[in-house]
Amino acid sequence: MITFETVTKRYPDGTVAVDSLNLDIPDGRIMVLVGPSGCGKTTTLRMINRLVEPTSGRILLDGANVADTDPSQLRRGIGYVIQQTGLFPHRTIEDNIATVPLLTGWKRGRATSRARELMDLVGLDPATMARRYPHQLSGGQQQRVGVARALAADPPVLLMDEPFSAVDPIVRAALQDELIRLQAELHKTVVLVTHDVEEAIKVGDLVAVFRPGGHLAQVDTPERLLGAPVDDYVRDFVGFDRGIRRLSFFAAAGLDLATDTVLPAGTAHADAIAAAKHAGEPWLLVVDADGRPLGWAAVAELEPGAAGAALTEVGLAPVGHTFRPDTDSLRAALDATILSRTERAVGVDATGRVIGTTSYERLRDAIRAAEDAAASDAARVQQTAGEAG
């Protein structure tokens, strides 16, 4: 746990970078500090490992004031990743990664094998890359080395200062996914600074939104930040489509999918028409013998008199994107529904078999239910906090 107790940083010229900050950063979670430039987020980060000393207030790391620890000792126990990577140009990749272990007195062989282990962990091939120098790697690879180097001595805390801002959007997305995957494995206490609210919402367990002048505007889960911004500043900052983005945090499992309009290809037209009429649906999803989707049949095109004709004989509308109710979010389900010509999307299981189909009405019900649940969760959290306070 990292605790900021009324921490202020005022520079000699009078600029206040951080103003009476109170913030708890829980163990094993990713806390993202986000805000426009000059809001004090980077200063806040750098006060944790004493690259910047606060003017007043205390920063506690597991209850101990960081100001009481020797800076070099403190920093060896805190991983640090920066935007420009800061890799040592004169050291090979493995030596870069082994930096902190060697500083803390590990034997060379052990440090090197640890470095190679970490290269594997961050997706770099030790056999081909260990002996290269940083300038021989791409920007994305260098950033991976930066992360590996920060993790080398297995510190419980990882500080990341705009770690993915200098790479192109595709590499950035890959690195963000990588961080999420690593964190699921390693459970570090991560403090990540970014100016990109999308990144904050994607990787953060908790997001602290800073206001210019070094004030904290809101600390919340990404979902709550999108769903219940505390004021106009946060609302503007998180962006205009926050309603849609928030759906990423609701599981598609909450959707009540239609199953009675899913029919095998061999179904008689008359039976199909009856099923559609019963469900009040203009479209039927036709599946093969294994339950995999073939396409959408328009009920209006079916002929009640056609005996023995397969449903596939009428022109089927394409299935389009499918989604996985067990793993995807409501946002994915909504997206698949919007993109479908039939205004219906197909939910499938891991093997591609149809589970059921969506409609706007079903999505609307699921979204309402999820929002109600989130609201009552929030109320319960506030109540607990109130009792604790």
Binding site: L51, L103, H135, Q136, S138, G140
Partner: protein, 226 residues
């Protein structure tokens, strides 16, 4: 030009070459040993640098011969006087080289080193000075070449160097000896310069191919990146 003079005086030539090389190399190396701590101090405390640089430049402005004249009463007619003079002269090249080299260390690298728990001394020795090596050696090359050339003047106070050939050749009206001294100075300077280039290459394996690591090849690596 009497070519036969060269083989006939081979021992003499070799002896003066060694003496001149000794003066020309030792002085800049001592200068470097002085310049590193001074340069480190100048980088740590920026206000020190302008006065230090002014003094070093002022010393360089003093004619070498005048430096000898000032020093001889204290240090005598010998190697020591020449080495002190050449060392002082080398500082005006070497101190800026150390300062520029250290200032050229990218700020993110310095910051990352600090953040990983390097103490100041360790950061200087293991990160900043190694990265300054190319710039420092560039300065050292200038200092060595000019010291090798200036070492001839040592002959004026009786210190053995290529200066012997110039003085002797002049006194005996024997141009061959002067041409030989001229050529030997240049050859020695070039050889020492090449040695320093080799040293730099050995010390900075990381810098090899670095200048080419831009443009197309970087783009290609970005594409193949996993």
């Amino acid at each position: 030009m009497q070519w036969s003079w060269i083989p006939q005086n081979w021992t003499l030539i070799w002896q003066y070459t060694l003496d001149n090389a000794f003066l020309g190399l030792v002085a800049p190396l001592i200068g470097l040993a002085i310049s590193i701590p001074v340069g480190v101090a100048c980088v740590a405390r920026r206000w020190i640098y302008p006065p230090v640089l002014s003094v070093a430049n002022a010393v360089y402005a003093i004619p070498t011969l005048a430096v000898f004249v000032v020093l001889v009463p204290y240090t005598g007619l010998g190697n020591l006087t020449v080495i002190i003079a050449l060392t002082l002269l080398s500082l005006c090249v070497l101190i800026p080289a150390v300062v520029d080299g250290l200032r050229g260390v990218p700020e993110p690298v310095r910051q990352a080193a600090t953040a990983m728990g390097f103490t100041q001394v360790r950061r200087m020795v293991q990160v900043e000075l190694p990265l300054a090596v190319p710039v420092i050696i560039a300065g050292l090359r200038v200092a060595v070449v000019s010291s090798i050339s200036l070492a001839s003047l040592g002959q004026l106070i009786g210190v053995s160097s290529f200066g012997y050939f110039f003085i002797d050749g002049l006194q005996r009206d024997f141009p061959t000896e002067i041409y030989a001294g001229f050529a030997l100075t240049v050859v020695l300077a070039v050889v020492c310069d090449l040695l320093l280039v080799g040293t730099r290459t050995l010390l900075t394996p990381w810098a090899r191919g670095r200048s080419r690591a831009t443009g197309r090849s970087a783009a290609r690596r970005a594409v193949t990146e996993a």
